[in-house]
Amino acid sequence: MHPTRIAQYSLLCSLLVSLDAIAYVVNIGTGTRAVYLRVGDGIRAGAANYAGGGAMATGGAVSLAQVTVAAAAVGNSAEQAMTGNGRLTSDYDDFTFCEAGQIYIGGFFRLPNTANQNATLRVNAPANLVNATGDTIPISQIRWSSSGIGDVPPHPIADGTFTGGTQTLATDFLRNTWRETCHSFVYRNQAIVAAGTYNARVVYTLATP
């Protein structure tokens, strides 16, 4: 091939490659990670619910589930329904999701990810409820059932019983999805115990991958 022809081809090729590479380039980032859990009352910033543009907040009173057992019924194994005092509405849309006396539990986590990764909900409970004089009732005397108004099983958290220590309640809090349920707590009343007010505090944790 003639040398001039070789030069012509190579110049033309470089011209076309240069034109093909023209573009303006924009880099886009990923979504931010976030995790949210409300157990019981909770609070939010402002009046608007989250579907209406409201914002999260941290705080609120620790909700209480309680029952008073009549003296004649103590230890007779007749289960005693406990009454919770938290708000009954979902902060997502203010829908009344819980029945009176139930405790609301709901949350989500945000994660940009292609895998179907889940967050895990755990609860940590002491071994016993304790009264002022040190008498105890095993925490396993308290169980719960899950439901939600308008919701159908399976619920995000299955029915269960406190065992003391850390126990896993759900391993399927799917990313980018709102999960919520309501708990009805029950005192199983299987043992005769000394009179008094017995307390225990349980702590829920939503752990993300």
Partner: protein, 157 residues
Amino acid sequence: MNMLWRSILCVGFALAGCAATAHAQTFPIDDSRSQVLGGTVAMQWQDFFPKRHSSSLLIGQFTVAVHLDVAAWQGRYARIYQRLPAQPNSPITARWQSQGRLLSGQIRSGERSLVYQGTIHSASLQDTFVVHIEADGDRLTREQALEFSFEIELESP
């Protein structure tokens, strides 16, 4: 004639050849003078609070000063398109609002959209686009570079 002048002449012939055989052909447009304002676009969840069924739409916005060098096609009737290549990780939708010199529009990754149709009367076309980006947060797992380009189609005489 030395080799340098021969080479320059060859490039000139090549460009002339492009213009002469442009019927129904597409040519990339030099937009190297376009300027994106700002850095990496921070994508936000459209609904920070997800719905009860998974919701993961990410949205973001940037502004670009578009400068298209169309000197080679002055006097020609043409269509100009903006193109966004296919994004293997996450499909992208871009909607832009122009200032009027070019057309507003939208594209999905892998497609192109008309931004100009008519006779080209000047050496350059300039406008400012405010571009809104949508992406699937379940699939956009790392920073991604979007390469917008422009191409011109000349009307057959």
